[in-house]
Amino acid sequence: MALLEVKNLKKHYYSGLFQIQVNKAVDGVSFRIEKGKTLGLVGKSGCGKSTLGRTVLRLLEPTEGSIIFDGQDISGLKDHSLKYLGTRMQIIFQNPKSCLNPKMKVYDIIAEPLRLHRLCAKDEELERVKELIEIVSLNEELLFRYPKELSGGQLQRVAIARVLSMKPELIVADEPTSMLDPLVQAQILSLLKGLQIKFKISFLFISHDIKVVEWMSDEIAFMEKGKIVNFKIVSR
């Protein structure tokens, strides 16, 4: 059974004074992601990739369609009943500079999910965080710094460590390397790939760089104006 199955998902933005102008950002999308596999998503800027990613995570309210995660349709669930999903599906963002709270230290950023979901005892926390920071191969020395004192690649690693702390089953990666230099991009991509193998994580990998997606994914979906126009299996 697929970990995630999306059927005819739609997300329309309404705007204007009377909320009648419609922007069909995602307009009837269906796909599935098996456990431990990666679906790549490519398309031009503004075609609705990010919107799709967020809707799948239920960070946005879907307009129509169903999102079946691990056998349960989560498209109609209310906010409070989504809480259990908090640890199971996560997101990584494009811009590492803006995805970490500038007022929290790296340590707190990584530990926040642990505390919020009581994933470990208080006295284990430090151990866990150290473990995580090692996984993303960062120096412990960085734990008590603020995000603005780190470089883009380091920040992206912190973001990944934070997400990993919850041992998620699905990660939506929204252009995680498009702001990074080639060298750093290579680092992050191979890190992600390694993690996927190690922890059996499924990815929805969004990017507009077809080469990157090809390298990362098992299957690629091409998106255009809110619709998926083509699928392509990557053969290796």
Binding site: R54, L59, D79, N101, Y107, E112, L116, E140, L143, F144
Partner: protein, 300 residues
Amino acid sequence: MIENIKMAEKLSINKKRLSLWLSLWEFKKNKLVLFSILFIAILCFLALFAPYISPNDPFVQRLDKQFLSPCREYPLGTDEFGRCIFSRVIYGTRISLGIGILVVAVTSIAGTSIGLFSGYKGGLIDEILMRGVDVMLAFPNIILALMIAGLLGPGGLSVVLSLSLTQWPVYARLVRGQVLSLKKRDFVEAARALRPSNFYIMRKHILPNCMEPVIVLGTLEIANVIIFASALSFLGLGIQPPTPEWGSMLKSGIPYLRTSPHLCFIPGLMIMLTVFAFNFAADGLRASLGQSVKQEVLDR
């Protein structure tokens, strides 16, 4: 926090960073800012220990010793009732600072909460609250306070009330603007992906990130409130004589402007210096927190 530091020590990390205090510490580079903070500290000291510092009772009249120039017994001379101006000025510190801090405490808490709530909730509630703020801000700065103080009648309480009622929208608007832009930031989205309560996000992720401008604005507002309060007293709607309030001292000195101008000059100078110190401190804070003056002016 302490926990973290302990851990940091365990990890043998020497660099401890306390962001705000650190940035406050950067003031030492700017001597004038340091000076203004020193001045504020002195003012607070004067206010707290007024009874011990002032050489004379600020209320006692010596009608045989009116309009004295500065002398040993009266360091700044005496006023029209032969009262010691120096002592009165010192006691005045209590009132001005007291009102300034009280009003700013009340309004910043209220305004910030409203702005935070309104900005985060959005929708109709936001619309209504913000129109309320617009309405309040449609009254030029001191006019509404004047009206309210007029309705309530003169007195300290009415000064505090009228200024509190009129000053909160500034914070609300500032904070709401911040919240709106923070709401769109990825880290808030990332926090939402953890699916905590809204209150948690507001407290943990949004509020800390809009505190800096609020602190700057608060410092600035102390200056403003001190001016407004003394203006109300000057007009006769605030603190009443014989309470030694700078504005009302200034007012009662006007008739003697020609012969004893120090009756007007000294309290006016005190207001100016105090306000200046707070403005300067706000400037320094802003500089070390990296905000632009333009923003401040537009925020006012």
